[in-house]
């Protein structure tokens, strides 16, 4: 694996390898000295063309826990607003001898262009591109689900996949890179995926995706899924006629207190996931976000572990051969 661009082309073996490595990384984060020397002397650039404090600090924390040098390059605007072109930015980073570039970009495909253009030979990690993919988010979700399963079945998570788990993803699938990365990875790992959304927020042409689609959240929740993942509703969708009003959206597709109560009443195993940041009161109620079912904070912690694993795996294996052991 030279780059991590999308989950659509991530093999089962590579996915498990990342998740197993992430479990090892998680143990580092629980120690008092949260640092490994594995990437000492390597340079990781966080190239963010779009604001995302959460994702950036997660990658920054991951790289620092592996002792890499981290450069944060905020290139907001990019060539859209007559700034520096992606090419020039990439070549600038190359001249600074970056070993890995973590790129967040508003344009779908920008990480793939960076990786295939020949402008740069660093490892490229997609930290979210347009409405396309956000592979580390899907990996951290998979890690979270795997740990839920391991705890439930009382066995170690190493080597485990998600076969037979039912994951419900609710909300704005049309504009969501989280949904697009999750559908492929969850499928690769054997989970059953159901999307629930108003028809206006489902893309035309998704009929070949390996998933089921429903417009009825209550009906799907009554199937006692293993997890329900609420997607963030972007504020700019509110006025674009995708649905009549926020209230109507919440009533039909929000994880309301009533829906949480219904899960509790039937003692459903369902955990509640959200990639953050949450719109409390819109797609998710406080009762849901703060319920014992919520894995929101575990997802954040697992995000660091998964990103450590990805950086470690991408940057290991070449000349300086980083090692996971302390020395």
């Amino acid at each position: 694996m030279k780059h991590l661009l999308a989950t659509a082309d991530l093999s089962y073996a590579d996915a498990l390898s990342i998740l197993d490595t992430a479990d090892q990384m998680a143990s580092v984060s629980s120690r008092s000295v949260k640092k490994l020397p594995a990437l000492r002397g390597r340079t990781v650039v966080n190239l963010f063309f779009e604001d995302s404090t959460r994702t950036r600090i997660s990658f920054e924390t991951a790289a620092k826990r592996l002792s890499a040098d981290v450069i944060n390059f905020s290139a907001k605007g990019s060539s859209v607003s007559k700034g520096e072109s992606l090419k020039d930015t990439a070549q600038t980073l190359m001249a600074m001898s970056a070993d890995a570039v973590v790129i967040r970009h508003g344009a779908s495909g920008a990480p793939q262009q960076l990786a295939s253009s020949g402008w740069i030979d660093a490892a490229v990690v997609n930290a979210g591109d347009g409405k396309h993919e956000h592979p580390t988010q899907a990996l951290l979700d998979a890690m979270t689900l795997r740990r839920v399963r391991a705890r439930r079945e009382d066995r170690p998570s190493t080597g485990m996949d998600l076969a037979g788990m039912h994951v419900v993803i609710v909300g704005d699938v049309l504009h969501s890179r989280v949904a697009r990365s999750n559908v492929w990875l969850l499928h690769t790992l054997g989970a059953r995926v159901t999307f629930v959304a108003p028809p206006t927020l489902l893309p035309v042409g998704m009929d070949q995706w390996p998933c089921e689609v429903s417009y009825d959240l209550d009906e799907v929740l009554a199937q006692r899924p293993d997890a329900v993942m609420m997607l963030r509703l972007q504020s700019e969708r509110m006025n674009a006629a995708f649905f009549p009003s926020e209230q109507e959206y919440t009533r039909a597709w929000g994880l309301t207190p009533e829906r949480v109560a219904a899960l509790d009443a039937t003692d459903a195993p369902t955990v509640i996931m959200h990639p953050g940041p949450m719109n409390r009161g819109l797609e998710i109620s406080s009762e849901a976000a703060d319920s014992p079912r919520s894995t929101v904070l575990a997802q954040v912690a697992n995000g660091v572990s998964v990103r450590m694993a990805v950086l470690f795996l991408l940057l290991s294996g070449d000349e300086s051969s980083p090692s996971l052991t302390d020395n």
Binding site: V80, S85, L86, A107, S108, Q113, S116, H132, V204, G205
Partner: protein, 436 residues
């Protein structure tokens, strides 16, 4: 003026003949060896070559005035000659827009001065292509450029009242309106065809219905006001069905398809290489097949290149910021051969029709698209259908390097282009422009 004897050439794929050209006209045609060459005539051995009436492109972006970094009338018409074209229609989306007699006369004059091919400026339907107010259409029609075709190409004349008025207005001089069919609200921020691939890639979709809805509206408007409509770059199966429906009812509509929509599909967008970004977007294989069938059954009248050169920097960027468009003049006939002739769908006589004769009829060009016989203007393309060469955009004479066929082997090559009796291309190479 010099004379040329083109020997043993196959006119539109039929039995070989000799053609004698003098003073810009075909003066004699006959069985090989039967036409006597006058003293001093240059003999062009055209054994194995196919003669076509010089190609006529109804859809070219020459970029001048205003975007001379991307193309000029000079470089664009050189590319036309190299591709076998003897006439091109220069779309109006220059800067300033070709919405006045002054601009169309300028472009027309630049074409005359260049001398590589006839340049027929297309007039903008609305001032500044803004879709608000009709341009001075009649002034352009009466200018030296004698504009007959009006289009806001690049933008759709989406206001139904304005479209109706334009269709009515051009009737006074037997003009036509060429519509870029794209419903603007349905295509806000659109990046590629809406369907399976856009759903996966997370690129905003350009739905087929946004093209089809405008075509349906416009053929009905055309019937209502009894005018003449041309549809630019038809790209969907549904559009074919609507145009076919309209033609069956006698509505005066003609339709164009581009070479790239006959060959390439949306699958190429998976590369995120902006060389494949074009408007209308590359569609599905089903659409490609429907467009080919539409050429065969006459629903599609003409091949138009939509030659759209761009600078490197306008294409070397993120997909969503990259300019839309592909070059096409120098590869068009090869793509036509590959998709329609080599597949056995049409013969060379039909190629002559769709790439030269019908466009000339639609535009009312007396000297183009004629029969290859004595008395016709000597606008002739000699095509060598043998062999395949990988496309190398670096060798193109257009300024544009944005060819989607880079590296793709394409059949055939232009051996010679006679423009008004003068060989602007000979042995596959540009020679000299038509002497003033």
């Amino acid at each position: 003026m010099s004379s040329f004897l083109i020997s043993s050439v196959s006119p539109e794929g039929s039995d070989p003949v000799d053609l004698l050209i003098a003073d810009g006209t075909i003066v004699a045609a006959g069985a090989p060896g039967s036409v006597a060459a006058p003293a001093g005539a240059t003999v062009v051995d055209a054994t194995g070559l196919i003669a076509l009436p010089g190609l006529v492109d109804m859809h070219t972006h020459l970029r001048q005035p205003g975007h001379e970094d991307a193309e000029t009338v000079e470089t664009g018409t050189r590319a036309a000659a190299k591709g076998g074209y003897t006439a091109v229609c220069a779309m109006a989306n220059s800067n300033p827009v070709a919405d006045t007699a002054g601009v169309v006369e300028q472009v027309w004059q630049l074409g005359r001065d260049a001398g590589w091919a006839d340049v027929h400026p297309v007039g903008a339907v609305t001032v500044g292509l803004e879709g608000k107010q009709l341009s001075e259409i009649r002034a352009m029609a009466e200018s030296r450029a004698r504009v007959r075709m009006f289009s806001d190409d690049g933008k759709c004349v989406h206001d139904p009242v304005l479209m109706r008025r334009a269709l009515e207005y051009v009737k006074s001089f037997d003009g036509l309106v060429a519509q870029h069919a794209q419903e603007p609200r349905l295509t806000e921020g659109a990046q590629m065809n809406e369907g399976v691939v856009s759903a996966e890639l997370g690129l905003t979709g350009w739905p087929a219905v946004a093209e089809e809805a405008i075509i349906a509206r416009d053929v009905l408007l055309t019937r209502h006001v009894n005018s003449r409509l041309h549809i630019c770059h038809l790209s969907t199966k549904g559009s074919v069905e609507i145009v076919r429906w309209a033609k069956e009812r006698g509505i005066n509509v003609t339709a164009e398809v581009t070479p790239h929509h006959l060959l390439l599909t949306e699958e190429l967008v998976r590369t995120f290489d902006p060389v494949y970004k074009v408007n209308p977007p590359l569609r599905t294989n089903e659409d490609v097949m429907a467009l080919r069938a539409a050429v065969v059954d006459g629903t599609v009248d003409v091949i138009g290149t939509d030659h759209a050169p761009h600078t490197l920097e306008d294409k070397e960027s993120e997909w969503s910021c990259a300019a839309m468009g592909m070059t096409g003049l120098e590869t068009a006939l090869s793509v036509v051969q590959k998709t329609l002739v080599d597949t056995g769908m049409i013969d060379w006589a039909t190629v002559a029709k769709i790439a030269s004769r019908r466009p000339s009829e639609i535009l009312g060009l007396p000297d183009q698209g004629g029969a290859l016989e004595a008395g016709a203007a000597a606008n002739i393309t000699l095509w060598d259908p043998a062999g395949e060469t990988p496309v190398n955009p670096q060798t193109h004479v257009s300024k544009g390097r944005n060819s989607p066929y880079r590296g793709m082997p394409l059949p055939g090559r232009v051996s010679a282009t006679f423009y008004r009796g003068h060989p602007v291309v000979l042995d596959g190479q540009l020679t000299t422009p038509l002497p003033a």
